[in-house]
Symmetry: C2
Subunit: 351 residues, 2 copies
């Protein structure tokens, strides 16, 4: 990951708490890398005002205004369904490249494969980083994770965009504070962007989902005693569940953290799919792994951003009651209950 | 699918009952298209002698000998793990292209992307068909199969290479004999080769597995009242289960046919993965679909090729007893019990 990036984050027309996932993840976990956000609807406001974090990071209306903030790169700040490039952004991209900004993108549409952008970038000496481009020479999975000594923990969830990555990063930070040796294995564009390495498991050829997940887990296990693998999608998500399932069977976690959002009762954009009760859903996940590696769910991470604090506390108590597991919102409150559960689990299996 | 192919089937060093899946599928279901098989170990023998069907189709040692049989195409007759091109075959490929044979391949390695083969093919005016190349403009799945009137039936199974495609084709033929309107939706290279259309769902970008399965099912439903979707892999296969799961949730079958092989107790090449008891495994499949579309398993198709006839009959009786469902080996014996089950199911849901 070449020169230290200073991002102008592109989220034109889409900067918001639930609409600009990549922008938000980058601002939450690497704010020092973000010089500004481009969204003409919000120009003049700050990130803190629009998404509730990111403090004074300014929002600008144009690339020209953004350049005054001293970026060296443009980061595409959205992760839309299907991962296509929004054609309306072509002009913005052209002027960013013409201004000498490198491009960082986690879209499925590889920016470097676009003839116009590729040729402009060549002329201007600009580097295009397509984070979802899979590594070469992937192998199909073969249960190789069974051989590693590290404790592997996977976040799973009731839906997409519900806090699997964010929870993993909060837990990573919580474990680091306790001097635990911990690695975060990013499986999506935002996680990779934040951590500086990883594999976008939803962007590999389908036969290699588990193989990519396996390789990622093995690599992370070389670095640390506890590996937190970033989950993707949901086993009930009608579009992405194959990736979720392959990631589970490739990363072969010893334990899982179930992520949910108490206010969501159906899958986002798919009101015909009811989210199952947490207890049943946890049992289903354990059944999925059972033939390959018995695994258990050790805690519940709830995303309560849209609840009042008393309602959030109540939802957490309800989840604990229903599942018999420690629960909290590790972003809003102290992640300690889940960090404790991970430490207990790790200690018990390595004793 | 351009000119009517007359295949010389390449299976050098690998022609056999369980090692040359694509060759065998093509010989079983489109023998009229196969002029010969290339495997120098078996030269002089016939397909019938080596794999038990295919009658007098001759086996030859070299492309030169094969040319005497009048082929216009070379078909790569294997489907190896990972789908890589065996480099040892480079010389054979070169002489096939030099001799003017078109190339048909279902490997993950696209033959048309190989600089040497591509340039040779251009010089010689030879067409390279890479069957696994995904269609353009795939969408992510959105439960669109819920809107079709046709009855959708998916084969699922306890392992790879256990008879899901073969069973589907036997059932298709059985239903056609009874004048039923039926379509076979091929999801792998061999099925596509036999049927002349389809999508290799394991070769799409992982996020589009369910989307590709959905599109395929919708296309097939335009053609027929009963759609038989070819299953892939297995929910307990450590390498390919993500594809299996995404195919299930994308094709949203009304009913499933469970395929198994009584003599297999562990997943092929993965002795650490036990195949679950049929009844549990069927319940698990139904649970996977339950949140999206309640589905049930209506019959069991067993692959008994390696059992004596009395042992095969006994295994079938045992499966019926265990599952309470009609069972048979639809290749070895009359497929009627499963064809009956499909007709009954179709009639009951369309009444």
């Amino acid at each position: 990951m070449a020169r230290d990036p200073r991002y102008l984050v592109l989220a034109e027309g889409q900067f918001g708490p639930m609409t600009s996932k990549t922008a938000n993840g980058c601002i939450r976990y690497s704010p020092e890398r973000v010089v500004g956000v481009l969204d003409s609807r919000r120009a003049g406001q700050t990130a803190g005002q629009v998404i509730g974090f990111g403090g004074d990071i300014p929002i600008v209306a144009t690339v020209e205004d953004g350049l005054k903030l001293g970026p060296n790169a443009l980061l595409i700040g959205i992760a839309p369904t299907g991962g296509k490039f929004p054609e309306a952004w072509r002009g913005i991209m052209r002027s960013a490249i013409a201004s000498g900004l490198d491009i960082w993108s986690g879209l499925h549409t590889f920016i470097g494969d676009d003839p116009e952008f590729a040729s402009l970038a060549r002329e201007r000496g600009v580097v295009i980083h397509d984070l979802r481009k899979p590594p070469e020479n992937l192998q199909v999975a073969a249960g190789r994770v069974r051989d590693v000594a590290s404790t592997v923990i996977l976040t799973v969830g009731t839906d997409c965009n519900i806090g699997k990555m964010t929870s993993s990063l909060q837990l990573r930070d919580g474990l680091r504070k306790r001097k635990r040796s911990v690695a975060f294995a990013g499986t999506g564009q935002t996680g990779i962007l934040i951590e500086g390495w990883g594999i976008s498991v939803d962007a590999v050829i389908a036969d290699f989902i588990a193989g990519a997940s396996e390789r990622l887990t093995l690599d992370a296990a070389k670095e640390a005693e506890i590996v937190l693998v970033e989950g993707q999608g949901s086993l009930v998500h009608p579009s992405y569940s194959g990736v979720t399932y392959g990631l589970m069977q490739g990363s072969l976690p010893h334990a899982m953290i179930m992520c949910g959002q108490p206010s969501r009762t159906t899958v986002n954009n798919h009101p015909w799919v009811k989210i199952p009760p947490l207890r049943d859903f946890i049992a289903f996940h354990e059944r999925v792994l059972e033939p390959l590696r018995p695994s258990k769910t050790i805690a519940v991470a709830l995303n309560t951003y849209d609840l009042s604090e008393p309602a959030a506390r109540e939802a957490i108590a309800r989840a604990e009651d229903e599942t018999g597991l420690p629960a909290t919102d590790p972003v809003r409150f102290d992640p300690a209950p889940i960090v404790d559960a991970i430490e207990r689990f790790h200690t018990s299996r390595t004793r």
